[in-house]
Symmetry: C2
DNA sequence: TATGAGCCGATTTTCGAAAAAAATCAAACC
DNA sequence: GGTTTGATTTTTTTCGAAAATCGGCTCATA
C-alpha cells in the first residue's frame, strides 16, 4: 500500500476505507496496534478528516475500536472472541444455508459451481502455498458467499458478511504459522455437493464442522498470539505497532 | 434538539452520533430524507468533518446510507425490509434467550425484575399515551435487553442491539397513528415470568409472538407510509425533508 | 521517600475555508 | 419543439492549521 490513491468513481474516503479494512483483515495492521494519524496519513496519502471518516466506519464494523480522546486501535483478538465468533457464525451460516437451499434457483447453482471452479483453479495454479495468497482469500470468500447468496434475506447476509470478515482475520493469523493445510478443497467440494443436492441437514452439518475445525486449527497454530486480557488498561497487545 | 452541545467526557463527534442515532430512530429525521450538511450543521452545532464522522458510523450501522459523491440519506423503510428484519430478529432473539436462560444467575434475574418495574411504573405514571414517550422507549429497550443480558455472547448481543434499534424505528412510525395500544404490559409480564421460570421453549415462543404481532401492527397502522420502490433512482421517499 | 500540582511535548479532535463534483438553468442547435 | 452543450450555482468532499486533550515529567512539599 503506497502513496497516491486511485479514487476511481468512488469517494476518496471510501477508497481508504476499503484499503484499511483489507489491511486490518489481512493483519497488515496488527491486532491491538495503536493507529497513529501521522503514520496513517503517510501510509494512505490522505488527510486527517478523511482518515477519521474511514476509521469511524471500521469502528461501527467492529474492526477498529475508538477510545474517546485517545485515538483508535485495531480491534484486539482473543480466545474468547474467537470462540464466541465461531458460535455466532455457526448459527448464522446454518440459517443462511437453509434459506438459500429453499429459495435458490438454477442461476444460483450455476454461480456456486463457477465460484468453486475459480477458487479451485487458482489453488492448482498457485501450488502448495495457495492459502497465503490475497487473491485466493478473495475467491474463497466469494465461494462461501455464493452458497448463501440466494437466501433472500439482505439483513442476515449483511450480518454474515461482517462475521466472515472478522473470522478471516483469525484464519489469516494462523496461516502464517502453518506448513501444511488440511484438505479444505475436499471439504468445499462436499459442501457444494450437498447444497446443490438440496440436502439441508447435511449441508448445515458440513458447514458447521468446516467452521469449527478451522477455529480449532487457528487456536492450535496461532493461539499463542492472543492477548490474555489482564486487569487494567494494560493488556496492550502481544504484538507490534502500525509501522 | 438545539444548538450547544454538552460533550460530557465523550468526544463531540460521539455526542452528535448519539443524538443523530436517536433522531433517526425516533423518525425526527424521516426515512429517505436527504441529509444536507448546512441544515445538519445548524441542527447539531458542529462542523462538516465532525458531522461526516457521525454520519459515517451511522452508515455502517445501516441507519443512514451514503451515496458516493451525492451525500447521505436516512435509510428508507420498506415492507420487505420490515419483514426481513422481523425474520432475523426472531432468529436472534430466540437464540439469545436460550443462552441467557442457560447462563443467567440470580443477579440477572434481579436486573430483569428491576427493569420491568421501572418500565411498568413509568407506564402507570404516564397514563394511556405512555408509548409515545421517549423515556418509555428507553426503558422498554432496557427491559428487553435485560432479558438477554446474561447470554454471554458479546457478538450476538451486539447484533441483537442493532436489530432492535432498527425495529424501534418501525415501531415508532406506527405509534403515531394508533389510538389504542394492545396489552403489551401483560405480554411483557408473561415473557418475564417464563424467562425467570427458566422455561426456554415457552419464553422463545412468547418472544417470537411478541415480535411478530408488533410487526403486524406496524404494517396495519403505518404500512401506507412505506416506499414502494419504483424502478430507477426515482423512489425518493414518500415523505419530508430534514427540516 | 511518597504524594500531587502544574507544566510541556505529543497526539487527537475540531473547525471552516478551498477544491471537486453534481445539480440547475439557459442558450444554441438540430 | 425537443435535445444537447456550457456556464452558474449549490452541495459535497478534502485539506491542513488551530484548539483541545492526554500522558509523562519535574519539582515543591510534607
Amino acid at each position: 500500500m503506497r502513496d497516491k490513491a486511485k479514487p476511481a468513481g468512488e469517494t476518496r474516503a471510501a477508497d481508504v476505507l476499503h484499503r484499511m479494512r483489507a489491511d486490518v483483515i489481512s493483519c497488515t495492521l496488527k491486532p491491538g496496534a495503536k493507529l497513529r494519524f501521522e503514520a496513517l496519513r503517510e501510509m494512505y496519502g490522505v488527510s486527517f478528516s478523511t482518515l477519521r471518516e474511514a476509521l469511524s466506519r471500521l469502528v461501527a464494523e467492529g474492526l477498529v475500536i475508538a477510545e474517546d480522546q485517545r485515538g483508535f486501535i485495531v480491534a484486539p483478538v482473543s480466545m474468547e472472541d474467537l470462540i464466541d465468533l465461531t458460535y455466532v457464525r455457526v448459527l448464522v451460516e446454518r440459517e443462511c444455508l437453509a434459506l438459500a437451499i429453499e429459495h435458490g434457483d438454477d442461476g444460483w447453482e450455476a454461480d456456486i459451481i463457477g465460484a468453486f471452479h475459480r477458487m479451485d483453479r487458482l489453488q492448482t495454479r498457485l501450488g502448495s502455498n495457495y492459502y497465503l495468497s490475497e487473491e485466493w482469500g478473495k475467491l474463497h470468500g466469494d465461494f462461501h458467499f455464493s452458497l448463501v447468496a440466494a437466501s433472500g434475506s439482505p439483513n442476515l447476509l449483511e450480518i454474515r458478511q461482517k462475521l466472515f470478515e472478522r473470522a478471516h482475520r483469525y484464519r489469516r493469523m494462523s496461516s502464517q504459522f502453518r506448513t501444511k493445510w488440511r484438505a479444505k478443497d475436499v471439504e468445499h467440494k462436499m459442501i457444494m455437493d450437498s447444497v446443490i443436492g438440496r440436502d439441508t441437514a447435511k449441508a448445515q452439518e458440513l458447514i458447521e464442522r468446516h467452521i469449527r475445525e478451522t477455529t480449532e486449527n487457528v487456536i492450535k497454530h496461532a493461539g499463542h498470539l492472543f492477548v490474555q486480557v489482564d486487569d487494567e488498561r494494560q493488556g496492550r497487545s502481544a504484538d507490534v505497532a502500525a509501522e
